[in-house]
């Protein structure tokens, strides 16, 4: 064997060993709760920095009908198997009612027809999945703000929680693995925050969350809760699910979902 070939082999070997050590170290660090907590601390910094430099009332960009995506990728649950939901779907949601309760003066129970009669907004917006893709869709729905005003928020109200019909993860108990999401009151009262019942000028399809899904523009796709059954106004969400304010936030994703 020539000297160069020998040296090359040695260098390759050293490179591969160093690389594997580096990777193993990164995996071990990822498995360490203390280290990941340190990394997660940057999240608080990101959230606060974003809150500081962004205008929380700014509208998300709206697009023209020509910009609509020919195909809008459905993600997460695309057909809930929950018996309660299957029964509601069989009746075309005639017996579905949206409950709005929790820290409100006058709890509401609205049929789909009643929800459709509420002040509405139509918007063509970009949906950004945390995976990296985007799709543009047209949404029509009842504005959440006026609905909350109708129910009357109690003084200690701070977050709005959306309880969904679909079960995406495994879990114990009736609520285990159930999808849910939450937003703060600034986002709840944002004009583009709607309970959408129409998509691209048609009734909201099951794959996209029929009968009603949340649109909270300016946040990632996993915040756009589908198959909404119940809205609960709370002062804290640490006792719901695993305590992080949503199905995916309970699984390591950011609650504020702004980046």
């Amino acid at each position: 064997m020539t000297k160069t070939a020998n040296r090359r082999r040695w260098l390759t070997g050293a490179g591969v060993s160093l690389g594997s050590l580096w990777l193993a170290a990164c995996d071990r660090l990822t498995a360490s709760p203390a280290y990941m907590k340190t990394l997660a601390s940057a999240e608080g910094l990101t959230r606060r920095a974003q809150r500081l430099v962004t205008d929380r009332k700014a509208l998300a960009r709206e697009f023209k009908p020509a910009d609509l995506s020919p195909w809008f990728k459905p993600n997460g649950t695309i057909r809930p198997a929950d018996p309660e939901y299957v029964a509601l779907l069989a009746e075309n949601f005639a017996n579905w009612r949206l409950e709005i309760g929790g820290l409100v003066e006058r709890p509401l129970s609205l049929s789909l027809a009643e929800l459709r009669a509420q002040p509405s907004r139509t918007q063509i917006t970009r949906h950004d999945c945390v995976e990296g893709w985007s799709a543009i869709g047209k949404w029509k729905g009842a504005r959440l703000g006026p609905l909350l005003d109708r129910a009357g928020l109690k003084e200690n109200a701070r977050y709005v929680v959306f309880h969904c019909a679909d079960r995406l993860g495994a879990g114990e108990g009736p609520e285990g693995g159930k999808y849910y999401e939450s937003i703060d009151l600034i986002d709840a009262y944002h004009p583009q925050t709607i309970l959408a019942y129409e998509m691209n000028d048609a009734t909201l399809p099951v794959a996209h969350g029929a009968p009603v899904r949340l649109r909270v523009e300016r946040q990632l796709g996993y915040k756009q809760a589908k198959y909404i059954m119940r809205i609960e106004v709370v002062d804290r969400f640490d006792q719901i699910g695993r305590g992080n304010g949503g199905f995916w936030p309970d699984r390591g994703y950011e609650w504020y979902a702004g980046i």
Partner: protein, 277 residues
């Protein structure tokens, strides 16, 4: 009879402490950002132009396709298709191959976890931004960029540039007094990375934020939409990798230990004529 002058090695001060510290912190930040970035890319290993994804027409994609009942890694680039089994699309140790864009050895963590990848990425993004701002502030105020990195007029003459390209191609590098400063190709490469590629990474990264977009929609217009920003983020990262590879090659061929010492202790050896030392 003239005495023959013997070249003598002298150590000159090459890099300030701040340059050295920010350089190594940047090595750490860029490595972490690159590898966690590939983890994030793997969540949807395809890139598009414009605002939204045209799912059937990515300009680049990595996927798995079964060919005669055998999974193959397939990478497409425009109209071209490549079999990249073992590298892109389908990779892993024998018996443990899986469908993934970049292979396990290129991502942090090595296994698939978008949530953890994002945690690493955003943590080191702050690290990178703060380190970069310290460097730039000092570089602008202290004159490092103007004095050491900005090419002088004589360095930019076509004649000089052609000469440098020709000598670089033959792996011959400036000696003596000329070695006291960076050569023009070096300066241009450093400036392109420091003032163009690295800031571009930050800006295209922010453009992918739906929250930031609402406040600064001009970024969307600047880059041509969120999916374009994602593509430019990827291309810019690839150019940084290309720079790092070239940088490392140059470090090796132009005097490995001298270069490494200069970035650790700050001292760089140059050869000067005997009686001048």
């Amino acid at each position: 009879m003239a005495e023959k002058r013997r070249p003598e090695k002298v150590l000159v001060r090459r890099h300030s402490a701040l340059t050295r510290i920010t350089h190594w912190l940047n090595v750490l930040a860029i490595s972490m950002l690159l590898m966690s970035g590939l983890q994030i890319f793997n969540a949807h290993p395809a890139l598009y132009w414009g605002s939204a994804s045209s799912f059937d027409q990515p300009w680049i994609s990595m996927s798995m396709k079964e060919v005669a009942d055998t999974p193959r890694g397939v990478t497409t680039l425009g109209p071209l298709t490549f079999d990249t089994t073992g590298l892109f699309g389908w990779s892993g140790a024998p018996g443990m191959q899986e469908k993934r864009g970049f292979p396990a050895w290129a991502t942090i963590p090595s296994y698939r976890s978008l949530a953890d990848g994002r945690r690493w990425h955003f943590f080191f993004a702050w690290f990178f931004v703060i380190n970069g701002l310290v460097y730039l502030a000092w570089g602008l105020i202290g004159g490092h960029i103007r004095k050491d990195l900005w090419p002088t007029r004589d360095q930019l003459s076509p004649r000089h540039l052609l000469h440098e390209i020709a000598t670089h191609a033959r792996l011959k590098f400036p000696k003596g007094e000329e070695a006291r400063r960076y050569n023009a190709l070096q300066k241009l490469a450093y400036l392109a990375v420091i003032l163009v590629l690295l800031p571009l990474m930050l800006l295209t990264g922010l453009t992918m934020s739906p929250g930031f977009d609402a406040t600064v929609p001009q970024l969307l217009d600047l880059f041509g939409g969120r999916q374009s920003a994602r593509s430019i983020h990827f291309i810019s990262a690839s150019l940084i990798v290309a720079f790092v590879v070239l940088h490392l090659v140059m470090v090796v061929v132009s005097g490995l230990w001298n270069n490494i010492r200069s970035m650790i202790t700050g001292r760089y050896a140059i050869e000067v004529e005997g009686d001048e030392a």
